[in-house]
Symmetry: none
Subunit: 251 residues, 2 copies
């Protein structure tokens, strides 16, 4: 079940932290690591800090962007230290681990994202998550380093996986066949094109319209049938918009 | 209450680990550190690794032996990676943290011991504990380093102490201003008109399209701002559909 959980480090600066994160993962039985644009990798320092968890590094996948790193996942959670301007569902580490483990136990792939050492995940990256995860810490000194954050969440995931062996999917999970994040991105791209074509979305002044829509649909978590309906709606609307967007690429 | 919990590092070899342990403690609000015969302390490397938690180091007490380090404590727990020849009460980290926090909360001092990096606590040291503590880990790779073990137990102690701030609103409830069911019905009616106008929904053979969409949006529970966005999207699309539905009632 832990094999269905992917840890994603987004843009880590220090190779030592990648190695330490791999070690933290392995101590808890996690093995699937993806790195989005690591600043310096592969690197001897990463291997040194992995200290026996170098098999995790050897199997780690380097991804060109976040989209690629979560494409095969049906549930995506992102760690976030601070509250954001656009509120998003925010779960404590323990509850988040329970949700992730439950869906992983049901056979689906899930991802847990960790951001940059200094600045965490960007708002755009957080907008691609179904929920955000916070680790309770000292408000006067919450400087958990990257490997420490991975260690705590890996620990919680291990306990959650043990506590919920083959538990049926959480009630929040879609009842039908789940869709991958890549399919959701396809929908978001399609939605954006239609909204621009209708004139509702001004690409030069998008405001927070798309993040708001992402949040709404992430909360709803459409299943495959529902996503097909949503895509069908967009296609039907597009037929009426053809005259407005003669050069748009097809879907 | 966390002030009544003393972390004791017994005979640590590497000053960097002392600093990292201090940092791990401080992130979780623990501040009382005692060092039994540290191999190399004080040391610049410890301060460097403490990274802002040097106040913990400054207040740390160096003890000549374990007896001195736990003299004022009423309850002593010792971390132990392996099972010992002489069975002892052995608690998982979470349960152990609960016990320690409960007594600390009652006003008594308690201690949690961590052993040497390579060999842990000796049988003699473990025999001075009321109970032993184990952190669940991968049986094939349980090499949690010292700071990682301190981090996990400090995290469990923080949660057990109830120091976690009140959790933000449950994700299931809308965070913004809720909308009435009447407003949702207005949206569903609008959506249906647009879908019919685009040709996506055939009123003579609606199948289960609308119930499916209702279920999807009910799950998402849009708040007022989100519902306004959804209505705005429909209106923007309608402008392109006017030529098709000259006699439709306005919204």
């Amino acid at each position: 079940m832990l094999d269905n959980i992917t840890i994603v480090l987004v843009n880590p600066s220090h190779p030592g932290n990648i190695g330490a994160a791999a070690r933290a993962m392995k101590t808890m039985g996690l093995s699937r690591l993806r790195l989005v644009q690591p600043a310096d990798y592969p690197c001897a320092e990463a291997t040194a800090r992995a200290s026996g968890a170098d098999d995790i590094l050897a199997r780690a996948e380097v991804c060109a962007n976040l989209e690629e790193a979560v494409a095969d996942c049906v549930l995506v959670a992102g760690t976030s230290a601070r509250s954001r301007t656009l509120p998003w569902p925010l779960l404590e580490a323990r509850e988040a681990a329970g949700r992730l483990a439950a869906e992983a136990g049901a056979g689906d792939r899930v991802a847990l994202l960790f951001g940059r050492e200094r600045t965490g995940l960007t708002n755009d990256e957080l907008a691609r998550c179904h929920f955000h995860v916070t680790i309770s810490s000292n408000p006067d000194y919450s400087s958990l380093n990257l490997a420490a954050a991975v260690q705590i969440l890996a620990y919680e995931l291990r306990l959650a996986a043990g506590a919920a062996p083959a538990r049926p999917a959480a009630p929040e999970a879609p009842e039908g066949e789940p869709v991958t994040q890549a399919e959701m991105e396809g929908f978001y791209g399609h939605l954006e094109r239609v909204l621009v074509a209708t004139g509702f979305l001004d690409p030069d002044s998008p405001k927070r319209l798309l993040p708001r829509l992402r949040r709404l649909y992430a909360r709803a978590r459409p299943d495959r049938v529902e996503l097909n309906i949503l895509r069908g709606m967009l296609k039907a609307m597009e037929k009426h918009l053809q005259f407005r967007r003669p050069t748009e690429p097809g879907d």
